[in-house]
Symmetry: C2
Subunit: 193 residues, 2 copies
């Protein structure tokens, strides 16, 4: 029977690559890890890693089981809501985090970054390179300003899902959007830094 | 030789009470722990706990080695800068967190709340009762709005000190004040929720 490109064991190979990727990211950080090193640790050719996942960024997204690639999703939201991205960003963010199936892998990553310096280094590298710098450049933001939007969103994660402060945990998503969108807008539109 | 009120072993007794308090908070949460229970666990009279520390809130502040009591400090800052508390709050906050001796105990508490559900319950109880509700009431804020200011500040902690995203970690405090004060002001002044 002819197989259409999928080798037997492809699923295992993918899993083996992702396992190796998690190890390499933990050992060398996001910046230090390479496709070549991940391939070597998984015992496969670097071209196969690229074939399955793409660039290092996509390997990271798959390895950390992120529900989407923020480097693609966030610019798409901003582009779609050019007039007022703040409200769209916070609404999308709450949608992702309020749904248990997308929340769980993100929560695991945050908990691990808060508790372990290795994990913190991985998250910091990805956020700094991909989220802060790349997205900021694309939209002509100061990188610090992009990071401060991230800071507001991560604070919300801490209050609503990690620590679970009652008044935030039980609030309706739209109540949070109403209070927080103007704050995110203030960072986006502020012109003095 | 006459002693002036300090019994021998007072330091040990204080430490014993604080140790008992940490255990009681971890076991019963902030809401569930009582001065009576802490006293019993420390083998002392409840009046002695009150004599050394005051109310449960002050026992918590001492037990967690917080550098100050936020329930007293934050209202003082707001009262002192009635016209524009946002900038004063963020500048004070950065001062506390940028100094290693005040940062360390706070960082320990955050790390532990992020990684352990018991610790998260303790932090959530204190923040909900003392920071969110009491301060919000005092200044006529909606509690959710007070919590969203906390959310912005905790996000900053995550980005600058815990994960340490480079562009935030290395930023000058005044750069952060310039970007973040308008965002905090937007939450304070927004009238629609």
């Amino acid at each position: 029977m002819a197989r259409t490109g999928r080798r037997p064991g492809a699923t295992q190979t993918r899993e083996e690559i992702l396992r190796a990727a998690r190890e390499q990211f933990a050992e060398f950080g996001y910046d230090g890890a390479t496709i070549r090193g991940i391939a070597r640790a998984a015992g496969v050719d670097p071209a196969l890693v690229h074939h399955y996942f793409g660039a290092k960024e996509q390997v990271f997204v798959a390895a950390m089981r992120l529900p989407f690639n923020p480097a693609e999703k966030i610019p798409a939201i901003i582009a779609e809501h050019r007039d007022d991205p703040a409200e769209a960003i916070i609404r999308f963010f709450l949608g992702v985090w309020d749904a248990p199936e997308t929340r769980e892998p993100l929560l695991a990553l945050i908990r691990s970054a808060a508790g372990h310096e290795d994990a913190a280094a991985v998250v910091q590298g990805f956020m700094n390179d991909v989220i802060v710098h790349r997205i900021a450049e694309e939209f002509g933001f100061a990188p610090l300003r992009a990071a401060m939007i991230g800071s507001q969103l991560f604070g919300l994660v801490l209050m609503r899902y990690v620590v679970g402060v009652e008044v935030v945990r039980t609030a309706d998503a739209e109540q949070i959007v109403a209070i927080y969108a103007p704050a995110i807008r203030a960072v986006i539109e502020g012109g003095d830094a």
